[in-house]
């Protein structure tokens, strides 16, 4: 595979892995966020709804208490007692003592005349007959007003009860302290941005809102949006911001208690959660990206390596197949060429024989014939040498197992090369371990390997040097090392040393097949051949062959 193909593969794996792992992560994050947001909102709504209802009930209770005490006072005192301002002020004191929040108290007769008054304003003598509430009280018996300015020009509301005394009816009216009442309402507010106020049916503020307006001004929403009981809606506030409103009707559905809150208030925690979540997701994505890239790279590199190894192996196989085919072909060709050469030599020899006879001796072209024959012989010899070289390698490669005494084989090989080494003033030393058993191997092929390696060492040294041949046993392996103190193999050539046809010798001197053949032989015998070399120090070839004990005969 080309390197671009690997990059492509890597890209594909990374993309798919990232997509597959990001999608659920992000979906999970978003879903969780919305679920939590929904939950938060529900909870907040629930909360303010509850508060609104509770507060509305509290207001109802407040009003009921005030109304009750007012009614009780009216019922337990006679009209005449009440119009006595001394008595009235005592009643007022008792009321404030028992319930509180009353600003003033007045007694009004059925004609609307304010007959007695206790309080900070001078209101006695006023006639309320024209006031709308007066009619209401007169008809209904109990009346709680909306907040209004009234004569005193201050926002307030009143509770009035009508009493019957015989045929005569009169009204006991009390004003509720707007501040106390406002404070009660406001106490329902939540948090920094929360607000709580009362609005009447017409949408007029009955208490001072904290933010969104003033008492007796208009509420920015339509009260019809709040249905009976308690309702939560989300709408724009007076300042244009989105607010959550909870409204609960009280005071016999006349007043709407509204609690408002910015969603951001509760959202803040949600935002914190969202930020945490985003951080976790980003961290997760980062970790996934890193891991994916890392593992993919690792995997692709591994693949690339094993591909390379496979290719190398394939190349080796192809190489050895090629060489085997070449060998077979060479044998065939050589045999085919050898036979005609053989005949040519015999024929020329025969011609020479005949030429030696007397009748030819005197022929004028005798010399020419003789010369031609000699030339033919010379060139046949050349052809013979070529065939000889070609056939040097065409031979059976299948190992033939026999009992081999490795040390003896080494010694025999060295004996054969002794003269050659001595001629070049090269000393061959041996250090052969005596505990090497007889093994089952191919002696001829091993001898060929030793012969090649040692003669290579001699050639590498050239003149004057030392070759050390060692044999030793390591566990189930026998190792033979051949070390020379020659010039060493340059780094750039080290890779090619076992390649067929690689040679550093002069053209015609070596075929470059020797080491390759050694390598193949050792491999076929189940061992390995390797070398270490340093320029200027020498080279060590190491043969390792498995210790295979011959079968007992």
């Amino acid at each position: 595979m080309k390197s671009s193909a690997y990059a492509n593969l890597q890209r594909k794996i990374i993309t798919v892995t990232l997509l597959v792992s990001f999608a659920p992560l992000i979906i999970l994050g978003v879903t969780m966020y919305y679920q939590v947001a929904l939950m938060c909102k529900d909870k907040t709504e629930e909360h303010i709804k509850y508060r609104a209802r509770a507060q509305a009930q509290a207001i109802d209770l407040f009003l009921k208490e005030r109304t009750a005490i007012l009614s009780a006072m009216a019922d337990t005192h006679s009209f005449n007692d009440m119009i006595d301002e001394k008595n009235l002020s005592r009643v007022f004191e008792v009321m404030n003592l028992r319930a509180g929040a009353f600003v003033d108290l007045g007694v009004i007769d059925s004609a609307g005349q304010h007959l007695a008054y206790v309080g900070p304003y001078d209101l006695s003598g006023l006639n309320y007959y024209q006031e709308s509430w007066f009619g209401e009280v007169m008809s209904k018996g109990v009346y709680i007003s909306d907040v209004y300015m009234g004569f005193r020009q201050l926002p307030h509301f009143i509770i009035a009860v009508r009493c019957w005394e015989g045929q005569r009816s009169w009204i006991l009216r009390a004003t509720i302290d707007p501040n106390i009442f406002g404070a009660i309402v406001l106490s329902a507010q939540i948090g920094k941005t929360g607000d709580a106020y009362l609005v009447n049916k017409a949408g007029i503020y009955q208490t001072h809102p904290r933010f969104s307006g003033k008492i007796l001004t208009e509420f920015n929403l339509d009260t019809k949006m709040f249905r009976g009981g308690t309702t939560v809606i989300e709408a724009r506030g007076s300042l244009g911001n989105r607010l959550l409103y909870a409204g609960s009707w009280s005071n016999n559905n006349k007043w709407l208690l509204v609690i408002s809150q910015e969603p951001a208030e509760y959202m803040r925690r949600l935002f914190a959660l969202r930020n945490t979540e985003i951080a976790i997701i980003i961290f997760g994505i980062f970790a996934i990206i890193m891991t994916t890239i890392f593992t993919t790279r690792l995997a692709v590199n591994h693949l690339r390596d094993s591909d390379a190894k496979m290719n190398e192996l394939n190349a080796q196989l192809i190489q050895s197949d090629k060489l085997a085919a070449l060998g077979k072909m060479a044998t065939g060709v050589a045999h085919e060429i050898n036979n005609p050469l053989n005949i040519i030599i015999q024929k020329t020899g025969w011609m020479e024989d005949l030429l030696a006879e007397e009748e030819f001796q005197n022929s004028e072209n005798y010399g020419e014939y003789k010369k031609s024959i000699e030339k033919i012989e010379y060139h046949v010899e050349r052809a013979r040498k070529v065939v000889h070289n070609m056939l040097g390698y065409a031979r059976k490669m299948e190992p033939h197992l026999e009992d081999v005494d490795l040390n003896r084989t080494i010694n025999r090989t060295i004996d054969m090369l002794e003269n050659y080494a001595r001629d070049n003033n090269i000393d061959i030393q041996t250090d052969l371990s005596p505990d090497i058993p007889i093994i089952a191997s191919d002696e001829a092929q091993l001898q060929q390997v030793f012969m090649n390696l040692i003669s290579n060492s001699i050639d590498a040294i050239g003149k004057d040097g030392l070759i050390q041949v060692k044999s030793y046993r390591i566990k189930e392996n026998i190792t033979v090392s051949i070390t020379d103190d020659g010039p060493g193999i340059p780094r750039d050539q080290q890779k090619k040393v076992f390649d067929p046809f690689f040679t550093t010798k002069q053209t015609g001197k070596g075929t470059g097949l020797g080491l390759w053949i050694c390598y193949s032989i050792i491999e076929k015998l189940g061992g390995s051949l390797s070398f270490r070399s340093k320029v200027g120090e020498g080279t060590t070839f190491t043969i390792s062959i498995p210790l295979i004990v011959p079968e007992k005969k």
């Binding site: 390698y393 054969m416 060929q448 090649n452 003669s455 050639d459 070596g510 075929t511």
Partner: protein, 146 residues
């Protein structure tokens, strides 16, 4: 000079004779193996490296000529010296035509025996030397570098 012992295989059914001969040969420093019939002789040749077989022509079971033919067929390089009794010289000639190195008349003259044995040994050594040379040339040529 150190004498390299000849590996001799004595084949005869007459135990006394074989043992006496064996003792004398051993005294001379040869390495002697004994067999009492043809079959045993072939089995030993299968297992051991033998240079010269001294083979009695007249044996019960597989006779000398049969054994010789078998030896020459399976171990052509091993040299064989035949032991003949009176009246079996004809067989000795036949044996030699089949490739036996030489023959000896019983009772064998020991000096005669050693001379013939040496001759046989030499002939075998020569053949082995030729094979060794051929192998060496072959190896050298195969390695291609020299």
């Amino acid at each position: 000079m150190i004498k390299i012992p000849t590996r001799v295989l004595l084949v005869d059914d007459e135990k006394d004779f074989v043992e006496m001969l064996s003792l004398r040969l051993k005294e001379m420093g040869e390495k002697v193996t004994l067999a009492y019939n043809g079959q045993e002789c072939l089995e030993i040749l299968e297992k051991e490296n033998i240079d010269v077989v001294i083979l009695d022509i007249k044996m019960p079971g597989m006779d000398g000529i049969e054994t010789l033919t078998e030896i020459k067929k399976r171990f052509p390089i091993v040299e064989v010296i035949m032991l003949t009794g009176h009246g079996t010289t004809e067989t000795a000639v036949e044996g030699m035509k089949l490739g036996a190195f030489d023959y000896l008349m019983k009772p064998a003259d020991f000096d005669d025996l050693t001379v013939k044995m040496e001759g046989a040994r030499k002939r075998k050594d020569e053949q082995e030397e030729r094979i060794r040379k051929a192998e060496a040339t072959f190896l050298l040529r195969k390695s291609g570098n020299i």
